[in-house]
């Protein structure tokens, strides 16, 4: 009876959501993208995804618990999410040792150097990708197209893989791009699979629609203006820009990361718009092949500032002079 009388500060009523439940539901949301990636790019993709996820989880267990018991490896699931997202934004032909280094950089430098989950300023998966992208630019910008099911187990090494991705100038129909039958990183090609994950996350209430909308919306506006100035304005150009590269994947799974995106609702919209603008400017006006990584990392650094200037008005508050 005494157990029921607990003296403590609010909140007294707790919701069913925990870090653990949210993280594992994000993993479920990533399932369609992962399956699509594995089906399209074969055994390579599977190995990259497994390596990235397992490395991230083992390192997290070592940092947090200093042991490798199954419970510490599973942890709260945040390492699994970071690792899986990292695997999904790497090309399928990435050598596995590079994947291990990437996961180590993401978890150790991107996450735990800043104090672990909740304290990391930058998205760990993107820190890892930026690191390996600058270290081994050739391997990180070499993609291969989807494999047919008969040569699903063929390993494609970096030296052989050489299909251009849509952003690299490959021509594809919009339907091919929607289904993901283009060259690209494992998880970013299939818009259909990404949308399935997005619907799941929005229905379960894990992501706010504002950041993805701001991101995709501002990217679409920039694409429209760019194509209008270039004199070949067409709705297909805009749709093409949105489905090419990692833009949609980032919109659903990376700018909605709870730790590295603003807390306020207006802030999330602004954050999304900022990410979209920088991504498109890098894509269209710089020589870099893809702007998603740097666009989001840059805006990650702006998050404290955005939060500070978008504090909502307290009910009944009057503007002080």
């Amino acid at each position: 009876m005494t157990d029921k009388f607990v003296v403590g500060p609010s909140p007294h009523v707790l919701g069913p959501k925990t870090v653990k439940s949210v993280m594992w539901e994000v993993v479920i949301a990533l399932a369609p993208v992962s399956i699509a990636g594995i089906l399209l790019f074969g055994l390579d993709a599977l190995l990259v995804l497994v390596t990235a996820t397992v490395t991230a989880m083992i390192l997290e267990a070592l940092v947090l618990h200093r042991n490798l018991k199954p419970a510490s490896i599973l942890g709260d699931g945040s390492a699994a999410v970071s690792g899986l997202i990292l695997g999904l934004i790497l090309p399928p032909s990435t050598p596995l040792w590079m994947v291990v280094i990437a996961a180590a950089v993401g978890i150790l430098l991107g996450k735990h150097a800043f104090g672990g989950l909740g304290n990391n300023i930058f998205n760990p998966a993107l820190v890892a990708r930026a690191f390996v992208f600058m270290s081994w630019p050739v391997a990180m910008t070499t993609w291969h197209g989807p494999l047919s099911l008969s040569d699903w187990t063929t390993r494609v090494s970096v030296d052989v893989a050489s299909s251009a991705s849509p952003l690299g100038g490959a021509q594809h129909g919009l339907m091919e791009m929607f289904l993901g039958q283009t060259a690209g990183s494992i998880g970013e090609t299939s818009a259909l699979a990404i949308l399935l994950g997005a619907i799941f996350l929005i229905v379960r209430g894990h992501i706010d629609w504002r950041a993805p909308l701001g991101y995709v919306g501002s990217a679409a506006v920039v694409a429209a203006i760019y194509s209008f100035l270039g004199g070949d304005f067409a709705l297909t150009t805009i749709a093409w820009q949105l489905m090419a590269g990692g833009l949609l994947f980032a919109a659903v799974f990376m700018i909605t990361d709870m730790v590295t995106s603003p807390v306020t609702k207006t802030g999330r919209l602004l954050f999304g718009i900022g990410c979209g603008l920088i991504t498109m400017v890098i894509r269209l006006y710089l020589s870099a092949p893809e702007g998603v990584t740097y666009g989001i990392l840059f805006m990650n650094a702006m998050v404290p500032l955005i939060d500070r200037y978008t504090v909502p008005k307290v009910f009944g508050e009057v503007k002080s002079r």
């Binding site: 280094i101 930026a130 690191f131 600058m134 270290s135 081994w136 630019p137």
Partner: protein, 198 residues
């Protein structure tokens, strides 16, 4: 006496790792161990000259114009060092490029002139210049060595890892400078905390 000062320059008051002085050259020229060492030696020479002259002239420089006076003195020695390097060490001069003239604004040199040489005797100022210069040279050499090993698998041009292995190119690029400096600062802070606890 000198040994104690030497430890001060290399460890307890290390310009780069403890005082965070002169980070611009420390980040910019340490793509390899040899450029780091070259920069460190050039800076040491300038520091020696400026500490010498500043400590000699400390009583005739009016306090109100001391910073411009220090800058003129430092710039004189930087020009001398730059011309000497251009004449006798041309490859190093080429490799360091714009960062040789920029020694003028290295806050380590101005900092030592302001905080030490303008208040101390000639002998002590020279010792300070030598130990600080050694500390700076070692720091830059160390940072350059770490970046050279991780970035290209070699040290002072000597290949340690077979050239067929792809090393992490990022360490030869500007972001790698920040990453390695940050990790080395963290390691030194960790050691310092452990020593304090013990």
């Amino acid at each position: 006496m000198f040994g104690k000062e030497l430890i001060r320059g290399i460890y307890t008051e290390n310009p780069v790792f403890r005082l965070l002085f002169g980070l611009c050259p420390a980040l910019a020229v340490t793509t390899a161990a040899d450029t780091g060492l070259g920069m460190g030696l050039a800076t040491t020479t300038v520091l020696l000259g400026s500490n010498l002259v500043v400590s000699l002239l400390k009583n005739v420089i009016p306090p109100a114009v001391r910073i411009p006076s220090f800058i003129v003195i430092i710039a004189t020695f930087v020009t001398l060092v730059g011309m000497t390097m251009e004449a006798f060490f041309y490859p190093m001069f080429e490799a360091l490029g714009i960062f040789i003239p920029l020694i003028v604004v290295n806050c380590l040199i101005l900092g030592r002139a302001e905080a030490f040489a303008s208040k101390n005797t000639l002998g002590r100022s020279l010792v300070d210049a030598i130990v600080m210069g050694i500390g700076f040279t070692i720091s830059l050499g160390l940072l350059g060595a770490v970046r050279e090993i991780l970035g290209s698998g070699s040290i002072l041009g000597f290949q340690l890892v077979p050239g067929t292995v792809d090393m992490a190119l990022v360490f030869a690029l500007p972001p790698g400078a920040f990453i390695s400096l940050g990790l080395m600062l963290a390691a030194l802070n960790y050691i310092a905390i452990r020593r304090k606890e013990a």
